[in-house]
């Protein structure tokens, strides 16, 4: 009963991770497309994606604007890849044999990518912070500390999972 409930939860999480992955890719693609349009037409910077207005930065300096958009797209792509890795973990896990080295390796990769997100978000926040001295009405959108915390938590879980692999292998070789 409990096992079937866990399977149902993991299946739901897998579907949600796929939706997140596709959603983030669409968002990244939309921002990139709007940016390309805004290169020729500065008006497009007023609404890059769902009221994301970077026209102030676009008018201030094109290269700062390019930098900000690049980092936004990079953050979204790393997040999308992380969501994709989550779908891989959820599709690889089998309730009869949940602890495998492959899952551990994917979980470690997830923690590294969240750590990577933290670095890009820090750069993004720093640039927004620097620009906000010259431009009014600009604020950093992210709380960068959360990403490193999350990366740490996932890394700890992956190490616990690694121990689980050892225990499972011992259990399988117990007669």
């Amino acid at each position: 009963m409990k096992s079937s409930k866990t399977v149902a939860i993991l299946t739901t999480m897998n579907v949600l991770a796929w939706i997140t992955f596709i959603g983030l890719l669409i968002k990244a693609g939309a921002i990139l497309f709007s940016y390309l349009v805004s290169v020729r037409n500065p008006e497009a910077a007023k609404n890059l994606y769902l009221d994301l207005n970077l026209s102030g930065i676009r008018e201030y300096d094109f290269w700062h604007y390019t930098g900000i958009v690049s980092m936004l797209v990079a953050i979204l792509l790393i997040e999308a890849y992380t969501a994709f890795l989550v779908t891989r973990v959820l599709s690889k896990i089998k309730m009869s044999n949940p602890f495998t080295l492959e899952v551990v390796s994917i979980m470690e990769r997830i923690s590294y990518f969240i750590f990577g997100t933290w670095i890009v978000v820090m750069l993004y926040d720093a640039q927004i912070g620097w620009l906000s001295k010259n431009l009014q009405g600009l604020e950093g959108h992210y709380i960068s500390g959360e990403f490193i915390f999350l990366a740490g938590v996932v890394f700890v879980f992956s190490q616990i999972f690694k121990k689980g692999v050892e225990i499972q292998s011992e259990n399988e070789l117990t007669v």
């Binding site: 292998s169 011992e170 070789l173 117990t174 007669v175």
Partner: protein, 68 residues
């Protein structure tokens, strides 16, 4: 590993095949094979007891310690 499993020796002494032992101790052939080839990492007391009962021997006849 420093622990040597002498199950095959005892089986030969009792002239018992792996299939026969598997039936009598109620253990799968795969698990018995893991034990016989020394791949096992642990053995349950219940398994050891069943094997000793069927082969009419002591645990020391099946398991041996060799300092490597």
């Amino acid at each position: 590993m420093a622990i040597i499993v002498n199950l095959d020796v005892m089986m030969a002494k009792r002239k018992m095949s792996l299939n026969e032992l598997s039936d009598k101790v109620d253990l799968t052939l795969a698990n018995l094979s893991i034990l016989k080839t020394g791949k096992a990492k642990a053995i349950r007391f219940s398994t050891l007891e069943a094997i000793c009962k069927v082969l009419d021997c002591q645990p020391g006849d099946i398991l041996e310690f060799k300092n490597e």
